[in-house]
């Protein structure tokens, strides 16, 4: 019984922290109609700014909070200025992609400045606990509760009684009408981002104090959780976000008490998916109707794809086959990586480009493929070719089944759902230790082999990857110019119209995800067997974002573009490393985020144009 009360207190305290985060996301979703992916990174930034204030400058706590809020407010305004305002007239998915890029940049900056290692805070406040009948409550608990209560009250007064507060509420209800009342909606967005980010940063600092750990990647899952909390109460609804956060905090605490702390995040993401699919308007709403879709409409900037003559393609392929003759081993392994990422980008461009379903959990497919074939080889001793084929099929089927519940979602919601699915895959791998080895992973995975020939040397691995890439690219080319491809593009352009023509949407989305899963599964298998090692971190969400960047860079739906995108993003950093020295490698990820933001802004159709 004591445990129950303790966990209730824990749950409410954590729920309070989530609320600070979720309220900001709700405000931004309300006024800007945007799921701000960078919000998690603001939260992370808040924690690191707080850490800096405390450890470097020795600021007292209150001043630290103020600095954190101020810094994050400015950061939020910057995000609005870069990620939202210039993109208001672009395809509606553009700001979402931009905030993903910004989030990537911020996370990488934190790694560069503070190192990827976790940091801890010195003791800041008394650890005294007050007895409360069956349970007890600590000073930190009280502090967290009061900070969020005070913030909540201030926010309420602001929204209710100030001119800007009125403007924010009006904009959230009807942006066009608010504009016609003389509201400067850009200013409203700016203020909303500032407030939301100040609260988000504060939330990050409080979390860092509560768990006493900071990592540069702490924001990604936290942002998704804040979103889950907001979704429970109904997106864009501030009181709903608070209730959702408290509920999420409680569920998590009870769940962790029952199953262990490595399950903590799993609850949030499972809830996220269930709510998204069953009650997308929040658990208090009636019916399953989707909330007003923020990001439909012209999805892909119309453009003429660059036509590349067949002779050039054949020529390049032949050259690629001859490359190992002149290349040294180091570059050969770089090129092999590029080829394998090319397969991944190929797979993603099918769903994100051709079918218009912006999946951001693609690394999950790599992991499924990799683990399946690793297990088939290690446990059952299956020959590689069979393991490869089976793993690709398993990935196709699982990839389709996992995303199937989300087929009725569109635009932004697809992205959120696929991120959630990706995280669930990775957390399942982490927790299913008997099968996957958990964080230790699987080792001594045999290298790829065929009829007794082992693809052990860099050369043979390169050729194998090249053959697979070209073969899969040809297959996909056939697929997208068949009636299936045409149907997928029709669904992408106008789902309602496609349905009116009698097209079975689920069937075609299923085909797209199955084909995409098959291809990604192959990439996962080869990568895993060439590493000879895999654990839950091998294919993490950075890889999903990287794949997305490749696809955007090449032009969504563009097969050659996706391969080019992969090639450039893998090879260019290596070239720069050659030129700028080893230290450049830490900036590689930064470059990816920057490219994503720049392309979304200046060349949304990518290098070769969308198809």
């Amino acid at each position: 019984m004591n445990i129950f009360f303790d966990q209730t207190i824990n749950g409410l305290v954590i729920g309070n922290i989530y609320a600070l985060m979720a309220v900001g996301l709700a405000l931004i979703f309300g006024t800007a109609n945007l799921i701000n992916f960078a919000h998690g990174s603001v939260y992370m930034a808040g924690a690191y700014v707080g850490w800096t204030c405390v450890t470097y400058f020795g600021f007292p706590l209150f001043l630290t909070f103020l600095v954190v809020m101020l810094f994050c407010a400015l950061l939020g305004m910057l995000i609005e200025r870069v990620g939202l305002r210039p993109l208001q007239n672009s395809a509606r998915i553009a700001p979402l992609l931009a905030t993903i890029g910004i989030s990537f940049i911020l996370d990488q900056l934190a790694q560069i400045i503070f190192s990827p290692q976790p940091l801890a805070l010195p003791p800041l406040i008394s650890t005294k606990r007050f007895s409360l009948g069956a349970t007890s409550i600590g000073v930190l608990d009280i502090l967290i509760a009061s900070v969020s209560l005070i913030s909540g009250a201030l926010l309420y007064v602001f929204l209710r009684y100030t001119r800007m507060g009125w403007a924010i509420r009006a904009t959230a209800q009807d942006r066009d009408a608010a504009q016609q009342m003389g509201v400067d909606v850009n200013r409203v967005n700016q203020v909303t981002f500032a407030i939301a980010s100040a609260l988000g940063g504060l939330s990050g600092m409080l979390v860092a104090m509560y768990f006493n750990v900071l990592t540069p990647t702490m924001g990604f899952q936290a942002g998704l959780k804040g979103f889950a909390a907001g979704l429970i109460g109904g997106l864009g609804n501030v009181p709903g976000a608070i209730i959702g956060s408290l509920l999420l905090g409680l569920i998590e605490s009870y769940g962790v008490a029952l199953l262990g702390s490595s399950y903590r995040n799993l609850f949030a993401f499972v809830i996220l998916l269930v709510v998204l699919v069953l009650k997308p308007n929040g658990i208090f709403s009636k019916g399953r109707q989707l909330p007003p879709e923020p990001m439909t409409g012209t999805f892909i900037a119309s453009s003429k794809p660059v036509q590349i003559p067949r002779s050039v393609l054949i020529g390049v392929s032949v050259l690629a086959f001859l490359l190992p003759i002149i290349s040294n081993n180091y570059w050969l392994s770089v090129f092999t990586t590029a080829l394998l990422y090319g397969i991944l980008a190929l797979s993603l461009t099918l769903v994100a480009g051709t079918a218009g379903l912006m999946s951001i959990g693609h690394a999950g497919l790599l992991a499924i493929g990799g683990y399946t074939s690793a297990l088939l080889s290690l446990r059952l001793g299956l020959p590689f070719a069979l393991a490869l084929l089976l793993a690709a099929c398993v990935t196709a089927i699982l990839g389709m089944l996992l995303v199937m519940p989300a087929f009725r979602l569109r635009g932004h919601y697809v992205s959120i759902a696929t991120i959630g699915i990706g995280e669930i895959v990775s957390l399942t791998i982490l927790n299913w230790e008997s099968l996957t080895g958990g964080p230790v992973g699987l080792m001594n995975i045999p290298p790829p082999s065929l009829f007794g020939f082992e693809f052990y040397s860099n050369r043979s691995l390169y050729w194998l990857s090249l053959v697979l890439l070209l073969g899969l690219a040809l297959l996909q080319w056939q697929l997208v110019r068949s009636h299936i491809g045409r149907t997928l593009r029709a669904i992408r352009e106008d789902e309602v119209a496609a349905q009116a023509y009698g097209i079975n949407l689920n069937r075609y989305k299923g085909i797209a995800f199955a084909a995409s899963g098959f291809i990604a599964g192959i990439a996962g298998v080869i990568l895993t067997h060439s590493y000879t090692y895999i654990n839950n971190e091998t294919f993490n969400n950075t890889i999903s974002v990287l794949a997305l960047t490749m696809v955007i860079l090449g032009g969504r739906g563009n097969i050659i573009g996706s391969i080019l995108g992969a090639g450039l993003l893998i090879v260019i950093p290596e070239l720069l490393r050659d030129v700028l020295g080893e230290s450049f490698i830490v900036y590689r990820m930064l470059l990816y985020g920057l490219l994503l933001v720049l392309f979304v802004r200046w060349r949304p159709q990518g290098l070769l144009g969308t198809v």
Partner: protein
């Protein structure tokens, strides 16, 4: 008071306006008539700065407002009654009306204007604390007009104020527009599909077809013109 000069407007590659010219004199009610998708609402959006024309100029009170952000145009004294009313559904009637005064800097006169505006719309007074979304269509239209009046506008732009209303409400709304124009001296530029009724209260009118102004004239000329009946037959079927 309002003048559009050679306006060309595009949505992406699709051209909506082809050299639109029109003007509205102070104190007038001017009607822009036209069938579906002829570019009426886009004309409103160009005036209000919600859509930027590719070529041409918009003048308000002899100063150019082309390309200004919407909130600055409103601040100069342009009220808007948007298409489909677009009241704030989650705000109370009172809050909705006061939102209309958002752009004003003379805060002390707002309370006084609030009373005066309500005197035009007694029905709204009874519902001040009700959420805007719970009102009937006709009441919402009144709310949208009340909101626009709170701007203390010199000009009100109305996009299809009678759309979707019952005949009784159509008469009421047109009556109110007439009153506002007469007693407050506010210039009105309105877009309508139902020509005959709107022309009863208007001074002048324009007919737009596929982005071209095809007819212009006084309200009585237009009412008696065989061409307009013809144009409308073509447009409404």
């Amino acid at each position: 008071m309002l003048r559009l000069q050679n306006i060309d407007t595009f949505y992406g590659p699709a051209q909506v306006h082809f050299g639109i010219n029109l003007y509205v004199n102070p104190g007038e009610i001017v009607c822009l008539l036209g069938g579906n998708a002829s570019g009426k609402s886009t004309t409103m959006k160009v005036i209000l700065g919600l859509v930027k024309p590719k070529a041409g100029h918009v003048f308000f009170n002899d100063s150019e407002i082309t390309g200004l952000p919407t909130h600055q145009i409103i601040k100069r004294g342009v009220g808007s009654v948007p298409e489909a009313r677009r009241i704030f559904p989650g705000m109370t009637v009172q809050e909705n009306i006061l939102m209309g005064a958002y752009s004003r800097s003379d805060h002390k006169n707002v309370a006084e204007d609030f009373e005066r505006v309500l005197s035009f719309f007694p029905r709204l007074r009874e519902r001040l604390n009700q959420k805007g979304g719970t009102l009937s269509g006709g009441e919402q239209q009144m709310l949208a007009m009340a909101r626009a009046l709170m701007v203390r506008p010199k000009l009100i732009c109305m996009d299809e104020p009678t759309m979707g209303l019952s005949p009784l409400w159509v008469d009421r709304v047109l009556e109110l527009i007439h009153t506002i124009n007469k007693s407050e001296g506010i210039t009105i530029f309105m877009v309508e599909q139902s020509a005959n009724q709107a022309l009863q209260i208007a001074h002048r009118g324009y007919v737009i077809q596929n982005g071209h102004i095809v007819i212009e004239g006084t309200a009585s000329d237009l009412l008696n013109s065989p061409r307009i009946q013809e144009a409308y037959l073509g447009a409404t079927i």
